[in-house]
Symmetry: C2
DNA sequence: TGCCTTCCCCACCGGTTAGGTGGGGATTAA
DNA sequence: TTAATCCCCACCTAACCGGTGGGGAAGGCA
């Protein structure tokens, strides 16, 4: 279960747009420098985010990117789906597309529960939350447990 | 966030050993046929599980595999770690190995919380639970929500 | 002692993905 | 008209995923 570089970069890019909200559009180059993301790679990511309706763009001098809607209405799940597609997959398929037989049958509800649990986090945190350094309480509680920081 | 074929196969293989517990060792070929897993591919997976101390093996006629300990003490997380390494990674690294600066700083606790949440599921479900078709209540509740079955 | 069975190790392989780069065209502001 | 900026496409290398094949090592049995 890996968070890809694209996903990580995308969240950071959107975040960078969020904290510069209100002013002029922000150039891809500016975002790239601020977050230390390869410029051309970031352009592809921003293209995905635009097609998904997360950001808006304007070309030409003084152009750049800005959020397409309020930061409080953009969840981390939105961003990740925009660049990576489905959040959780098993062997490349959505859990609902699987079929198990015999004793393996309870595996399906297990994967479904896992996905629901992941969504609970990623759909419950907005870009505004992160920008304000104010993660929702349930998330803060999870991160506060010392065990969560251990690598078993 | 994908569950690899290796992980899926590994859980199903261990499960197959669990339901045949008590008798003779089970041949890889038998597990492969029962769970429709490519035989040679499965052998590699069983090797990983053996090295991780999840299963025991015996060679020669009448040989095969069996669980190394009680099914109730083997969690799904144990099995997945045995074949795929760390459960959650960001850009190939463990979350604790990351460093974010500036406005992206709250990303670290977010990934940590995400990992903790995933672990809660995978470490909370044992092979015995699945074999008995008796998933823990919290998992059952998650899977019972209709929204968990939708593909947004 | 052979012989059969089964695991065990290693090498390889084709296709996909991840991560990244480069060039040039389209659009817009000044 | 010119400079800036996004936009699209092609490409590239390395790694990974899923899978296969051959042969050797260990164990049971006659």
């Amino acid at each position: 279960m890996r968070i890809s570089a694209r996903a990580d970069y995308a969240v950071r890019a959107v975040l960078e747009l969020a904290v510069r909200q209100g002013g002029d559009p922000v150039k891809a180059e500016t975002v790239a420098a601020a977050q230390d993301i390869p410029h051309k790679f970031l352009e592809g990511i921003l293209g995905d985010l635009r097609r998904a309706g997360v950001v808006d763009s304007r070309r030409g001098g003084g152009g750049g990117y800005r959020l397409a809607r309020d930061a409080a209405s953009i969840t981390v799940a939105d961003v990740i789906r925009a660049v990576d597609g489905p959040i959780v997959s098993v062997r490349g398929e959505r859990p609902t597309g699987l079929s198990y037989t015999g004793s393996a049958q309870p595996l399906l509800p297990l994967w479904i529960a896992l996905r629901a649990n992941v969504r609970r986090i990623l759909e419950g945190v907005t870009v505004a939350d992160i920008a304000a350094d104010a993660l929702p309480d349930p998330v803060k509680e999870l991160a506060a447990e010392p065990a969560a920081w251990e690598n078993p």
